[in-house]
């Protein structure tokens, strides 16, 4: 499903006070790819996402999404991308259907909002105010809003957080469906098994750096090869989570050691 390069990030740096949130991150995403970004809290995942969609200006480096600079060409970019973020909200008194129709009216091209409502199980909640929705219902509404403009690239931050198993399955189906239609998906997640199951390639981040970037299969293979335990003594097949834990805890130990030596 891969094609031309649709996102390119080179040497991205962002500092908050003394903390380097992003310390020279580079990667690219091809058209039609499902790209995962995983990492512990504070790894810089959300900062990357915010830079990619133009909510935050990086201190250094270069970003192009669909050939556009997210900060200076934000409007043109926003017409073509869909974003679901963690820290976002709608006015408390807005009703579900109202919100969807309003967002549809903000774009030059929009999909059928009725179909989106039924697809995301929000038909019964059409007339319900945002403030009265449960966490899972809000999440489904935000996913629907991210898709209302029939985007070329979709950015999803913690897609399945707060969703019940049924809605989570629906979200997973969504990603498969988007890939079939050739939509590029960037998925930021804590749920490693989600990235393993859904993404073509996964970037593992910690402390503002990219530790590894490859297909889930190859990341696991490399980890098994490099780890001292190896596949011997392991009671089950290695998962991406094992690779992730080996990499991120290893990195932490290394940093600790270097600090002690100073």
């Amino acid at each position: 499903m891969s094609g031309a390069e649709i996102i390119s990030v080179r040497g991205l740096r962002k500092r908050y006070g003394t903390v380097m949130a992003l310390d020279g991150v580079s990667f690219s995403v091809d058209s039609g790819e499902a790209f995962g970004i995983v990492g512990p809290n504070g790894a810089g995942k959300t900062t990357i996402m915010e830079c990619l969609v133009g909510l935050r200006k990086a201190d250094g480096g270069e970003i192009r999404v669909l050939g556009l600079d997210p900060v200076h060409q934000g409007r043109r970019l926003h017409e073509r991308i869909g974003v679901q973020l963690q820290e976002s909200a709608l006015p408390e008194a807005i009703k579900v259907e109202e919100a969807l129709c309003l967002f549809a009216s903000l774009y030059p091209h929009a999909v059928d909002t009725r179909a989106l409502l039924s697809c995301w199980g929000l038909e019964q909640k059409r007339k319900v105010r945002f403030a009265a929705l449960s966490g899972g219902q809000r999440q489904r509404l935000f996913i629907a809003l991210a898709l209302v403009n029939d985007p070329t690239v979709v950015f999803l931050d913690e897609l399945t957080a707060g969703l019940d198993p049924k809605a989570r399955r629906a979200s997973w189906n969504l990603i498969d469906d988007l890939r079939v239609r050739g939509v590029t998906v960037v998925l930021v997640t804590h749920a490693i098994e989600e990235a393993e199951a859904l993404c073509d390639r996964v970037a593992i981040m910690d402390h503002g750096r990219l530790l590894a970037l490859d297909t889930p299969g190859r990341l696991i293979r490399d980890m098994v090869r490099d780890s001292a335990v190896g596949s011997r003594g392991r009671r089950r097949a290695a998962t991406l989570e094992d690779a992730y834990l080996a990499m991120t805890s290893g990195a932490a130990a290394e940093r600790k050691a270097s600090r002690c030596m100073q």
Binding site: H78, V83, S88, L90, A93, L102, S105, L106, Y107, L145
Partner: protein, 246 residues
């Protein structure tokens, strides 16, 4: 344009659903003038050119109670709570420019203020036969300048503050002194000299003066126009500058 219209329509519905805000801007001014009217009455007063107490006071009530509550309470609290909760963030991810979102909220607040003013005029006329504004042609632009200058102060507060609690505190700290000391609700002559000193430093007092003059037909006051235009320019530019830094 389609986007702006649908946004403005939704904003209007949201503002009507906001029971507390609607009460402060539309209902409480009516209750207040019923109270003041019962106290002062509207008997013609020769020293005021035949105007009654309510005739004289009505434009001040419009500025202090209607425009003031929207500018210092309604608008900042709504904007800050939207920023705090992530509503503005969500809208920034659409092609809608940030100024358009702000403009539609300000426009809707203005519409609500115009309606509340009409209700006050109607209440005054029905209860005490207060006179109608002398010139509608002058009333509209002077009303817009009064509302615009006070709203710009509200916008400056909103862009400087990060939490809804802070917006509420600062809004009240500005609103109540202005309401009582600007001549909007209590005639300046009733204030002790020590308090009267403060009045000219309150931007609202110049709005009371401008709207009052136009309303009573005594003409367009140049000094208050200049001061209100300056307030609008400085606070508007300050709010825009702070918004850009985000």
């Amino acid at each position: 344009m389609h986007a702006m219209m649908s946004l403005a329509w939704v904003e209007l519905k949201l503002s009507l659903r906001n029971v507390i805000g609607t009460f402060f801007t539309c209902v409480s001014p009516v209750l207040m003038i019923l109270l003041f009217g019962a106290m002062y009455g509207n008997a013609p007063n020769d020293s005021a050119g035949g105007l009654g107490a309510m005739d004289e006071a009505l434009p001040g009530y419009v500025v202090a109670l209607v425009i003031g509550s929207a500018a210092f309470m309604g608008l900042p609290i709504e904007l800050v709570s939207r920023r705090q909760s992530g509503v503005l963030r969500r809208f920034r991810l659409t092609p809608l420019p940030a100024w358009a979102a702000l403009l539609s909220l300000v426009a809707v607040n203005l519409v609500v203020c115009i309606c509340a003013t009409a209700v006050l005029i109607g209440t005054g006329a029905a209860a005490w036969r207060t006179r109608l504004p002398s010139s509608l042609l002058l009333l509209v632009p002077s009303f817009l300048l009064c509302a615009g200058s006070q709203f710009s102060i509200g916008l400056l507060i909103s862009s400087a503050l990060r939490s809804t609690k802070a917006a509420l505190a600062v809004g009240m700290a500005l609103f109540y002194p202005m309401m009582f000391l600007s001549g909007g609700t209590i005639p300046i002559e009733y204030l002790p000299a020590s308090l009267r000193v403060i009045t000219p430093f309150l931007p609202m007092s110049w709005a009371v003066r401008l709207l009052g003059g136009v309303w009573q037909g005594s003409g367009w006051d140049a000094l208050s126009t200049g001061i209100l235009a300056l307030v609008l320019a400085v606070c508007g530019a300050g709010a825009a500058l702070l918004a850009r830094r985000e």
